[in-house]
């Protein structure tokens, strides 16, 4: 998918003025935040589990090759295949090859962000293979030709009315006078439509929430059961995973599972947590005849050993998105690529480059709510700051901002000059504000620094004298 992160400000502007989107986003904060809170409170060990989960991931990342190789060996021992893909192009080609070798015409898909990352749907279509999204949210946005806007609720930006419009447009064979007022009728319609697709698919592609090295297993976590139908009915099952998904044992998996559903939807466990190991066994009566795991790097291995390594702890719960005021305001699409919200802001520059994505780490107040709710304790604000540092070092930061901070620092390091400058500044602003005590516009100041403020709010005026001047005055009785 072609990134539009460079036009984040325009994206955000459109999002802020999109009434329907704003209406849809209002549901996000109300539902997700409260549900998570309740689930976390119901588990006294939650914080200890966060630390344990963080440690498990950190240990794995410090020796990632060993664990991936162990996983590969076990997969092969059970009759499956592992494909290592350095980038999106390699992953696309690999998936296509598997599909072509299986003579596939139709592919069902469980939700997979890696699939989005490599743009597999468009690629398959270009090669005359039909991809069918089966997660309800993904199905809706596939019909709308949109990208997902959330890690776990891909159609969170779509209202019920829009779903109805979309279904009416897409499902032309059904009675146009049918009643679709109730959301349950929309669900029933999707279930009906997709049932036939499930049963006729040649290949099923899923993601993998985790890869377990102990048994050579890929794990998917869903509530709908679509992932299971996707990976059980067709002849071939392909699981897409990034290199950071591997955990050593089933017990390690359990720690992360205990964190995942609670952080994501506030459930104790998702309805379906499925462990898949190899193809069907000789005496099985159902299941795929072939099992492939595609492991994707796409820039992640380079994060190891850096101050951004902790991003690879992510278990894709979406809690950070659900609590982020930026995400609440503009939704996921504004970020311009696959991943939105705080994790998107921190990860996207690593995967598509800072030149393209430099706005994302900057469009944050570093409020820290994401880090507070992250089950893996990822220090997102720190990482965003590191991106800002790199941006400055590489000369990608806007000149005005660079100069502004430079001037500020110049004075801040020279107390005598600082005192003088602030005395003058305080006096000037006070005079401009006069009796009103505030300014609707700041004269003489460079617009780029002040317009952002005064376009939207008044600037309260300083009292007129600085604290240090008054303090000295009071202590020495001089002015």
């Amino acid at each position: 998918m072609q990134p539009t992160s460079h036009r984040f400000i325009d994206n955000a502007h459109e999002a802020l003025h999109n009434e329907t989107l704003q209406q849809a986003l209002a549901n996000v904060r109300v539902n997700f935040i409260e549900k998570r809170r309740i689930a976390v409170e119901a588990l006294p060990e939650f914080d200890d589990l966060r630390k344990a989960g963080r440690d498990i991931r950190d240990r794995v990342l410090s020796d990632l090759d060993t664990h991936l190789l162990a996983f590969e060996a076990k997969v092969q021992a059970q009759g499956g295949q592992v494909h290592w893909c350095a980038d999106a192009e390699a992953a696309r080609k690999t998936v296509l090859k598997i599909c072509q070798e299986a003579g596939a015409k139709r592919v069902t898909k469980g939700k997979t962000m890696i699939g989005e990352e490599i743009g597999i749907n468009d690629y398959l279509e270009a090669n005359h293979i039909e991809p069918v999204e089966t997660d309800l949210g993904e199905y809706i946005i596939q019909l709308r030709h949109e990208a997902p806007s959330h890690l776990i609720a891909p159609a969170v930006h779509v209202t019920q009315k829009q779903v109805e419009e979309t279904f009416r447009k897409a499902h032309r064979d059904l009675d146009p006078k049918r009643n679709l007022e109730e959301p349950s009728s929309l669900l029933a319609e999707a279930r009906e439509k997709l049932r036939q697709r499930f049963l006729s698919a040649d290949v099923g592609i899923t993601g993998a929430n985790f890869l377990v090295a102990e048994t050579g297993t890929s794990v998917i976590v869903t509530n709908e059961g679509n992932g299971d139908l996707t990976q059980t009915l067709p002849r071939v099952h392909i699981a897409l995973a990034s290199i950071d998904k591997v955990v050593p044992t089933l017990d390690d998996l359990t720690v992360l599972l205990r964190l995942l559903a609670r952080s994501a939807t506030g459930q104790e466990m998702s309805v379906y947590t499925t462990l898949s190991t190899g193809p069907r066994r000789a005496d099985d009566h159902d299941g795929p005849g072939a099992y492939h795991v595609v492991i994707l790097d796409n820039g992640r291995s380079k994060l190891l050993g850096t101050e951004k390594q902790d991003l690879l702890r992510c278990i894709r719960c979406g809690a950070c998105l659900n609590h982020c005021p930026i995400y609440h305001a503009v939704g996921g699409h504004a970020y311009g690529w696959v991943y939105g919200g705080p994790i998107g802001a921190a990860l996207t520059p690593a995967l598509v480059g800072l030149e393209e994505a430099h706005h994302l780490p900057n469009a944050s107040t570093l409020c820290g709510r994401c880090e507070q709710v992250c089950p893996m304790q990822i220090p997102i604000p720190n990482i965003l700051r590191h991106w800002r540092e790199e941006e400055l070092r590489r000369g990608l930061a806007p000149v005005a901002m660079r100069r502004g901070i430079g001037i500020w620092a110049f004075f801040a390091k020279r107390p005598v000059l600082y005192r003088l400058a602030t005395r003058i500044g305080a006096r000037l602003l006070r005079n401009f504000a006069g009796k009103k005590g505030r300014l609707a516009r700041v004269p003489l100041a460079p617009p780029v620094l002040t317009q952002g403020w005064t376009d939207m709010r008044d600037l309260p005026a300083p009292s007129g004298k600085t604290f240090h001047a008054l303090y000295r005055q009071r202590r020495t009785g001089s002015s």
Binding site: I9, A12, L16, P325, I326, A329, V330, N362, A363, S364, T365, L366, C367, G368, R369, E371, Q372, R385, H386, R388, E389, E390, L392, R393, A397, M401, I405, G406, W408, A409, F411, A412, K413, P415, Y418, T422, A426, G434, K435, K436, G437, R438, A440, L449, T450, Q451, G452, W453, D455, M456, R457, D458, L459, P460, S463, T466, F467, H468, L470, Y471
Partner: protein
């Protein structure tokens, strides 16, 4: 060694004024001094202080930020405690200085030591000095905004509420969605003004919903942002720093208000 004195030594507290208090609202500094002295501290204001370095730090300029941090450490490390009427500056010193100077042989340990004795104002009064009430009076209803750094970096939430509960005549109304950022974020508010505006609008909607006549907070950056928005909206809700109310120093016009 002489016999132990019967008088308890008053701790020497250095006030970290903060650049915003210095420039915009000195009353907050004086109110802080009063509260600290009432709590049995000897307060000094190191005169070389300018800024904690956070604007540079958050803009990715860790070189300048580190220079400023060293300056702050030099000026403040000789005191028993450092107190700031700001969770943002307090957080910068106590949570970020150690990281910032971790690779500096001379300052790494000094940064850690300073961090350990740096506090936000209400946190210091309640948690360290064990103050549980003030003598101030103010008739009216207030609501309180928890700034993000106070909340998440300094662990400040109960402390200001405890002290406000002791202010005679005051009714306290909890702010809905109180843990949401107000949209200030330093340079964020001028780099991404539309998003910042949306955030502060939601904040002022919630403030007005409480029915309170006065908004309080422990960080002047947040207060300038919220007060600026309230005034632009023509709201009658006023804004002050919590120190002003706790110290009973509310004669000066509220933030952004003109002369009476």
């Amino acid at each position: 060694m002489t016999a132990q004195s019967n008088t308890v030594k008053r701790p020497r507290v250095a006030l970290f004024v903060t650049c915003l208090v210095d420039l915009f609202r000195p009353t907050v500094g004086f109110a802080s001094i009063k509260l600290l002295e009432d709590a049995g501290c000897d307060v000094e204001v190191p005169s070389v202080q300018t800024c904690c370095g956070q604007p540079a730090y958050n803009s990715g300029d860790s070189i300048n930020a580190a220079d400023i941090a060293r300056q702050v450490i030099d000026a403040f490390e000789g005191y028993d405690y450092v107190v700031a009427p700001s969770g943002s500056c307090g957080g910068m010193i106590s949570k970020h200085y150690p990281d910032l100077l971790a690779a500096d042989k001379d300052y790494a340990d000094r940064a850690r030591k300073l961090a350990a004795k740096t506090f936000e104002l209400t946190q210091f009064l309640v948690d360290v000095r064990k103050v549980d009430k003030v003598t101030a009076r103010l008739d009216g209803s207030v609501t309180y905004h928890d700034s993000c750094s106070s909340l998440r970096e300094m662990g400040v939430k109960a402390q200001p509420r405890k002290l406000l509960a002791s202010v005679g005549g005051l009714t306290f109304k909890e702010l809905p969605d109180g843990e949401s950022c107000c949209g200030f974020g330093g340079t964020f508010c001028v780099k991404y003004p539309e998003i910042s505006n949306r955030m502060v609008e939601e904040k002022t909607d919630n403030i007005v919903k409480t029915g309170a006549g006065l908004l309080l907070a422990g960080d002047l950056g947040c207060l300038l942002n919220m007060a600026g928005k309230l005034k632009r909206q023509g709201s009658a809700v006023q804004a002050r720093h919590v120190a002003e109310v706790l110290a009973g120093m509310t004669d000066e016009p509220a933030i952004g208000e003109g002369e009476r």
